[in-house]
Symmetry: C2
Subunit: 191 residues, 2 copies
Amino acid sequence: MARAKQLRSLKTRERLLGSAREFVSDVGFEELRIEDLVSTVGVAKGTFFAHFKDKDSLMDILIAERINALLDDMETVHNFDSVEHVVASIMPLLMFISSERYVFDIFLRLSGALAVEEIGKIAETIYRYDCILIDRLKSGPFRQDISAELLSEGIQAFSVSSIALSLCALHSEQNLENRLVIQLNAWMCPS
Amino acid sequence: MARAKQLRSLKTRERLLGSAREFVSDVGFEELRIEDLVSTVGVAKGTFFAHFKDKDSLMDILIAERINALLDDMETVHNFDSVEHVVASIMPLLMFISSERYVFDIFLRLSGALAVEEIGKIAETIYRYDCILIDRLKSGPFRQDISAELLSEGIQAFSVSSIALSLCALHSEQNLENRLVIQLNAWMCPS
DNA sequence: ATAATAATTTGACCGCGGTCATTTTAAAGG
DNA sequence: CCTTTAAAATGACCGCGGTCAAATTATTAT
């Protein structure tokens, strides 16, 4: 029969998460090593993998936390009055995702549900983000010939490709924000 | 003084590449193991890394070969008469890139130049693809308020995001082609 | 209390990409 | 031909994510 999770286990998990957050703020996401993490916390390596499926799964939690904090900020804006306003609102999120190539990689890998039964934390933030966007888009001064849902899909597509370009040596000079304003004007306000 | 590359070296490289192509057609890109490769070819592991910077670098070559073959086909179409026609023309390429999540990952990582001085093979194919697209777009029945260059950027952005969705469990049922036709109609022929 | 059972932790071990000092082999100079 | 020099190949070794049978610790039943 199933027995309840022990307090000991919950504490170990929290210590691992807490220490992981510190590592990330010290050395970044990419440089976090599971071996360093467990030796700092003082548990065996196997313990980590008893609490998290794999390293990606830990990153999913840590990155989703950050995204949710940024979405909290985004939610305080209740409507968009221009494409520039849209871009300005989503920039903090895009800056975070493009802050490390590794973060972008994880984001892309985990932004969709990997299996039908299991939706990760980052995938949940995408859903939340989409809802926020769609709600604000309905009342904005944007094209009305397509749905807000489709409008949102486009914003996300252009965002991802702009981030990808900004992470690439040849295109890093033209900045992400300018490129996105141009693309989204063409997408959201075709003349 | 610099001495010329020896024939022996060129042959070793070709044997590695040839065997790698076989591995890929047998077990796919993801499952190719450098250790299997070198033991099949009969050289030491270090030899591989004397010929290729890393595993990604080999994948860059192999995947770019495939993309170039698909672009050769694409080039036989000389103009686009509709959005459906555009999508149909680029579908073989998108099917290949979405055939394995690993291929998509490599593609994204290597599609931009990683360093200013060094442009990879996949990055070259992107440039070639872009030229082909832009050329065909100029004469097509599409919106004229934005440049063919910008039009092409959008096609690539929507393509990438459609592939990402198709690799995700929740969205794989709605197929890539349908989604793309809807998005690109909204992008290329806004009413 | 004590035994039985289940949850938790452990650490030796594996797979695989990647490194590098050393050795082997080929080409150039005398 | 022999020596010198540079290219090519070698394989032991490392880093690090991930596994798993065994040991430990907590919980429940008697």
